[in-house]
Each structure stands twice: as C-alpha cells, then as structure tokens.
Symmetry: C2
Subunit: 337 residues, 2 copies
DNA sequence: GTGAAAGCGCTAACAT
DNA sequence: ATGTTAGCGCTTTCAC
C-alpha cells in the first residue's frame, strides 16, 4: 500500500492524501474523513524513507557510545523515551572502544542524515576532538561525559568537581584527616576534576596527601580492589577513609578490606560516587554521591533539540548537580564507636 | 556534495560514480581510481536515505524493548556490534512498559522499512501475540525472552528450565532438602519454567514443598527482600536453602537474612540465577547459574539475518544453555562446618 | 565500459 | 479546496 493506491481508492489526488496523513489544512472535513477511512481500512503506513528523502528531514537522532555498558542504560533510556514520544527515531551505535570504529559510526550517522547526534565521549583524544568539531559544522552535536573546553559545542555534564567536594566535605566533617583517593583513568577528563576536588579539599584543610594515598583505577570493580591493596601496601600510615572515583571501585575496595579482615566502616571508611543501583543494597550500604543519570540523559536530548531548532544558539554547557547520599560505609570519627 | 557533483567533477556519469561507490564491476581501473580520488578529496558521503528508497533496502535492523534496563545491555551490545560491523544500522525503541507505546513503536519500525526486528517481549499478552504474528508476515521477527509456543516465529531463549534444574540439583547434592523458592512475576512465561523445574526436582526427590516456601517477586532487589521475609514468617519450618529466580532477588533475600542476624550460607544458603556483574563481588560471592547474555544477543541477531536471507526458513527456536557458577553463598551440608 | 533515463514513495510549490 | 508536477539523491535497467 502506497500513497498512490490510497489516492486511487479514495478517489482523490496523492497531494490530498499527503495532506490528511500529515494533518495539514486545506482538505474538506468530508474528504478528510473519507481518506482516513480508506487509510484505516487498508492499514496504510507511510514509507518514512521516502518521506525523509522528499522532505529532507529524517526525524532520526543518532546516538554514539563507546562500549555499551550498564552505566549508560538510564541515560539512553531517557533519550529513547523522549525521542519516541516526540515521534523521532533513534539510531544507536557503539564502537567497542576502538577509535576507527567510532569514526566509522560517526560517518554512518552522518550518511543516515540524522538530525542531531548525542555523543558519549568516553575517552577523549586529539583526533576525536577534530572529528567532533568537523561533524558539528554539519550536524548539531551534544556531548555527554566530557566537554571540549576550547570548542563551542554544547555538552551536559555531571558536576564532578562539585560532587567530589561534597563527598570530601562529608568525610572531613565526619572527622577524617587521613583520606586516600582512588583515581579515575587518566583519559577521563571529568575524573580529573574529582581528583582536583580531592586535592583542593585536602589542601584547604591542611591535610597531608601521604605517599601511596592516591592510586589509579579503570573504574572496574577489580581495579578498585587492586587500588585498595596498593593504598595499604604503599602507605606507611593507614588512611581512615578512602574516596573512590566511582561506586564500582568503592565496592572493589571494600571487598579487599574485608578479605584482609579490615572492617568497613569501623576500621576504614569507604565512599563512592555515582549511586548505582546496587549501592543501596551492598553491605555495608554505600555512602556515595548521587548522579541522576536519567535526568542527565533527559537534559541532553532536550538540549539537542534546542540546538537543532536553533543552530546559532550559544553552545551551552549544562552542569548537573550531584547530591550526597549518606548510608553506612562511612564512620563518624566524632562519635564514640 | 551529492553523486551528481562528483560525476561532474570526475567527468563521468552518475551511474559510474554509483558503481565505484558500491564496488561494482564495469568500470575501467583508471576511471575507478580517478573517481575514488574525487570522492576522497571532496569527502563525498552517499545519502543512505536516498539509497534506501532507490534500492528498496534500508540496511536497518529494528530493536524493540520494553523498558530499557541493565538486563538488556549485554544483549543489545552484542546486537549493535554485530550490525555495525556488517554495515547495518540499528534503530532502537523502548516502550516504558505501556502497551500502546509498544504498538506505536512497532509501527514506527515498520514505517522505517527496517529489514528485520528483534523483539524483546518482556510481558506477553494475547494482544501482543496478535501484533507480533501480523508484523511477522511483513518483516522477519526474532523473539527474545519469551517465545510464542503456538506460533512459528524464531526465538532465542535462555534454557530457564535446564538452568533451574542445574541449580536445584546442586542444592540437592549439597545436602539440602528444605528448599524454598522465590518466584518470577506471573506474566513471565520463562520464569514459570524455573518454577516448574523447582517443583519437578522437589518432587523427584520426594521433598515436601512446605507452606510458605514459595513466594513471589517482581525481580527487583526489594521484592527479593520482601519474599525472604515472607518465607521466614509464613513457614513453620525454616528452609536450609532458597533458590531465587534471579540474582537481584537473591541479593535482596541475603540482605534480609543478614539484617535478621541469619548468616549466609552458614544458617541458610541462597542461590541466584543470571550471574549479573555484581554477583561475583557481592558478599558472600553469589552461587548462581550463568546465562551468557552477550551470546544470547549474538545468536539472536545471527538468527535474524538468516531469517532475512531466507524467509522460508523453518522458524527455529534456539535454546541457550546455562551453566552452574559455584561460589560462596551455598553451604554443603555434607561437610562439617 | 559507460551513460541516459526511469523510477523508488513521498512532499511541496504551483496551478486551477 | 484540490490536483499536477517537479524534485529529493540514489540504483538500476537498457542502450550504445
């Protein structure tokens, strides 16, 4: 069934059918009803590809992810919901970490005539920056996870600096002075902000960052376990608390401590960042800083549509606040045990 | 840049450009090189929408999910990877649980001329069955999560019955006789199979399913907590082990037990199903049955392509085996403590 | 081996 | 208010 068939069946021209399909004015109610009837009876469904070609508007939003992991589900969920509800379709792409794949996928979206791209940056590189800048000249792009400081491209980011500050202040207010830190991978610019927050708060309080207190991770639970091991083995003074860059590494750290017979939070306090689902069910329930990822996704897609509607919009960088979630993994040293 | 511009620039016809773009024969090497050069220089990228209309082949696969949750990430990851690598794009859709939304999304995929649909069924209803049957007459559909017994539609399913049997046998071999069960939600047909396995194994061993031993859940951690509470309060004889329908409810159950001061696995053993990421990091490390979801997704997309290539293929229902993962949450009653 | 031309199924400008 | 028609950017016969 195509528009031509419906036109013939309804005894009108294809232009008229097109008008009623698209709810456009200029058709007598009587005729409109008749056409609608025929459409319904024959279950006519317009070919969106043809429509796209003709109208030069695809009604498709492109999504570009590095590897597809649980971290993205809420954001992607928000994006899909918003688009589907608005009558937009979303084309999703993931690059399994390899950069060539990412470039290929970016081009695929471009060739698909998507109206805008939501780009989850993941690991930022110079090459990537160039490509993003280039594509953004043709198609509106909104960045997630990481912004490009020097470029005027809209982005929505969690307030990682502010969130880490909140975490650190909570630790400090709970009486902790010897605080260790599990770092994000080096390429995560946003992770660097958390590290800066850690350093700033330590400095502001005149707490010394002892040797061995800062250990790296790749955000995995396993790397958190390893980092905790390093903190203990490489510090001559045991910390009373450790702030992990995400909940996963916090969980890994706790696991290591337990295996060593060190109680959390009695002996050492551990704090995470993210508030992933398991955080509130882990034992001890994880004290962390919440990042509302559904909200982040929602804001990002809205920003993208703003940007599509008004390409000249000043590129806006939206910072989403994080909020402290106090649970059981941090001990208040001011209290008696 | 469109094909016409390239043709002019290269001094050939658009047909020739089309041939080289699509790596088709019938072009002198010399000319082919020349055209490629021009394409490269001007970064010409073919408009896939136009190609789709002209060739009547969209190169798009549709994905239909109920709500988008962490459970789907691995499967979706596998699907996207496979498609992207094959030069296919994937259009993703999620229905936030509401059925009207699902029907709308199904039509959206249809109108988008997708070449095949991967349908994560979630909750099965009569209405849904009809719609699936109908759409499958036009577009190849492969079902995930749940099959429709009476319809000849390909599906790939985890072997939920077999998996639960493995879990139960492990419990039995570990000396457990008083085994409780946390059920899946009623609408999950696959969950029912796990329940049947539980009943069958209990019966085969002449173990009594005591009152209160079977409690419902909605798969959430919270509902597992609640189910465990019910098991304890409604049974006059405490079980020595409980099999949960998924890892989430197993974790909820363990949390409840710990709060009650009941040790796992010393006092009560708890076993899950799924092997979600946190399972191996939870304390105690969760004994469970592994369902390789990446594999499931991979098989599903392969099956879909088979189906697309050969629509008359006898609809195949692929059952993916599950495997026992022994960790620390089940006690062997045959051992001394 | 190469090009001209006829669509693909729509939308949108232009007539009427 | 309705119809005619010219594209949209490609692929694909069919001639040459």
């Amino acid at each position: 069934m195509k528009i031509k068939d419906i036109a013939k069946l309804a005894g009108v021209s294809i232009a008229t059918v097109s008008r009623v399909v698209n709810d456009k004015p200029g058709v007598r109610d009587e005729v409109r009803e008749k056409v609608k009837e025929v459409i319904k009876e024959h279950e006519y469904k317009p070919n969106l590809i043809a429509r796209g070609l003709s109208s030069k508007k695809s009604n498709i939003i492109g999504l570009l992810l590095p590897k597809f992991t649980a971290y993205y589900t809420e954001q992607v969920d928000a994006i899909i919901n918003y688009c589907n509800q608005k009558g937009y379709r979303v084309m999703i792409t993931s690059s399994v970490g390899r950069f060539e794949g990412e470039l290929k996928n970016l081009n695929m979206l471009y060739k698909s005539q998507v109206e805008g791209i939501l780009y989850f940056v993941g690991k930022m590189t110079e090459e990537k920056k160039e490509n993003i800048e280039k594509i953004n000249k043709e198609i509106p792009v909104v960045l997630l996870d990481q912004a490009i400081e020097e470029l005027s491209i809209p982005a929505v980011l969690p307030d990682n600096y502010g969130g880490a500050v909140k975490a650190m202040n909570y630790l400090v207010n709970s009486g902790h002075k010897k605080i260790a830190f599990i770092k994000a991978p080096y390429y995560d610019l946003e992770g660097e902000k958390r590290y800066r927050a850690y350093q700033d708060i330590m400095k502001r309080n005149n707490f010394e960052i002892k040797e061995g207190y800062v250990q790296g991770s790749d955000y995995s639970i396993e790397s958190g376990y390893k980092a905790m091991e390093n903190i203990l083995s490489k510090s001559d003074q045991m910390p009373t608390a450790v702030l992990a860059s995400n909940d996963g590494t916090a969980i890994g750290a706790i696991n290591y401590l337990r295996e060593e017979g060190i109680e959390v939070p009695e002996d050492i306090s551990v704090m995470g960042i993210d508030d992933i689902e398991i955080a509130k069910h882990f034992i001890p329930k994880l004290t962390t800083v919440k990042q509302d990822l559904y909200y982040v996704g929602d804001e990002a897609i809205k920003l993208l549509f703003d940007y599509i509607d008004n390409k000249d919009l000043k590129a806006k960088k939206l910072i989403v606040e994080q909020e402290l979630v106090i649970r059981d993994s941090v001990r208040n040293l001011n209290d008696k045990l």
